[in-house]
Amino acid sequence: MQCQICNKRTATIHLTEINDGVRSEMHICEQCAAEQGLASQSQMSINELLSHLLAVQPSDEEMFGPSEKDLACPTCGFTLDRLRKEGTLGCPRDYEVFEQALLPLIERAHNGKSTHCGKVPAKAPKDTRKFVELSQLRRQLEQAVQDEDYELAASLRDKMKQVELHGAQG
């Protein structure tokens, strides 16, 4: 597919915008995207981390930025350097401590998704159930809009309002 701006290079960036329920798509090359200020921020090799975890070994600074390279989990002492070497995390809290560095990796591993949408422990606080249910409804709403099923989208929006007001339905 050719870039819609320069009509020369291959379009590698595909933008979908929905305004007032009207969907528009744009397919452009990286260079034109950069010129238009549409390029996403430089995708550091964290994006490659999962598939090339051991094969590619950039420095921590290259990988996580100068502010996070020396970060260590206060609970378990785990560092991003160890994640790069071992491929697994040190303790549950690491997800919170290294959230920004982990997000691109998590999205890459889970087909672009980064929010839980499934079982919640029965013991979990009500707020947790509400958060997860709202996430699930939001995802369904996005899908309904993508499918242009506006009737379903409206009903999901109403359901979200109910959950916001009265908590999770269980």
Binding site: G90, E96, G118, T128
Partner: protein
């Protein structure tokens, strides 16, 4: 419990029964869980691993699992026993090879295993024969609920169940089906089919083979995405899209073999029968390869009414085992020979470790005896 109590027969999930069992050999659902307040395994001291093992072992052994269960101290068992448990899919290869205190609670009918201190503190798996994902999900969910009443799992509202590796995050679920796809292999379409599965974000690997090669034509297809999709959504994709599509491909390939390449099909089945009935040395890989063709022939006869000269001879074949006299050859007997002649099974049942040549001779003898009944 002595492993020899179960090592002389196949387990239920490999019995060749259940929905779509001519192609879907078994269904498995695994959940990964960790304990709040504990480090992940790779970052744990030996003492902490021992503590986690103690807690989870006592919780698991206190559950009502609807039948007899036994505990295996995986780190204290011999290499042979560990290999045996891997061959029966009761523990993972990773669990067998890992270091430090670890164990497994196993239902005696082998439909359920809880691995403690694998990559995650707890890995629960339910296995059933044929296509029974919904039943597996219901059972593993119910066991998970029982455990959760006694422990606090590591969970975050944003990321769901927290796992040592971010690839298992969210639901922590891994849904797998073991598929027998010999006709796709014979007709040269297997690579195309598996590539399509990989494009659907599925992991595909050959089973019982060396490396990624599936000598047995058995492939395991699993989900890779576990975050941002619900357990029900993943299972529904398998039941409504993935399994129907792959099984249709395999059925079409079987029909194609019958309609256009019956000589090829008969050649494979006849060679398999001749070699298995007469060989005096047979490697595990060769046995898996040949038994796969017997399974194909029997299933095509039973499920498609196929009747070529080689299939007719195969269906007329009588077999016997140590426990049963001569009777009609069944899928169960083929699967039994398949599992009982795997290296660790052979040695455990023989009562001592054997070098590869002795194993090949013993394997050939067991198969010959089974497929050439004397009375």
């Amino acid at each position: 419990m002595e492993m020899t109590e179960i090592s002389h027969d196949i387990n239920d999930w490999f019995s060749g029964s259940g929905p779509l069992a001519d192609i879907v050999v078994s269904s498995r659902i695994r959940l990964a869980r960790n304990l709040a307040g504990h480090r992940f395994l790779g970052n744990c001291s030996v003492e902490e691993k021992a503590e986690i093992l103690d807690v989870l072992k006592s919780v698991l052994m206190s559950l009502d699992l609807g039948g007899e269960v036994f505990f295996v101290s995986v780190d204290k068992e011999s290499d042979l026993t560990r290999s045996f448990l891997v061959e029966r899919h009761l523990i993972s290869r990773h669990h067998a090879m890992a270091a430090g205190p670890r164990g497994a609670v196993i239902a005696k009918n082998e439909s359920f295993t809880a691995m403690v201190n694998e990559e995650d503190a707890l890995r629960l798996q339910v296995l059933k024969s044929g296509c029974q994902l919904a039943a597996c999900a219901e059972r593993v969910d119910e066991i998970d609920d029982q455990i959760e009443e006694q422990v606090e799992y590591a969970f975050s509202p944003r990321f769901g169940y927290l796992t040592a590796c971010p690839t298992n995050l969210g639901t922590g679920i891994r849904v797998s089906v073991m598929l027998h796809l010999p006709a796709l292999k014979m007709t040269g379409q297997i690579e195309k089919c598996l590539a399509a599965a990989k494009d659907m974000n599925l992991a595909v690997r050959g089973l019982f083979g060396e490396g990624t090669e599936a000598a047995s034509d058995l492939y395991q297809v699993s989900n890779q995405v576990s975050l941002g999709v619900s357990e029900k959504g993943i299972i529904s994709d398998f039941e409504n899209v993935i399994i129907p599509e792959i099984t249709e491909y395999e059925k079409a390939a079987r029909k194609q073999l019958l309609a256009k390449q019956a000589d090829l099909l008969d050649d494979k089945i006849s060679r398999a029968m001749a070699l298995l009935q007469n060989a005096h040395l047979i490697s595990s890989q060769e046995a898996l390869f040949l038994l796969s063709h017997l399974r194909l022939g029997l299933n095509m006869h039973e499920h498609m009414g196929a009747s070529t000269p080689a299939i007719e001879r195969l269906c007329a074949l009588r077999s016997s085992t140590a426990r049963s006299g001569p009777c009609k050859l069944t899928i169960r007997t083929v699967n039994r020979l398949f599992m009982l002649t795997l290296p660790a099974h052979l040695q455990l049942n023989y009562g001592q470790t054997l070098d590869p040549t002795h194993r090949d001779a013993l394997r050939a003898q067991i198969i010959r005896d089974a497929l050439n009944p004397t009375s």
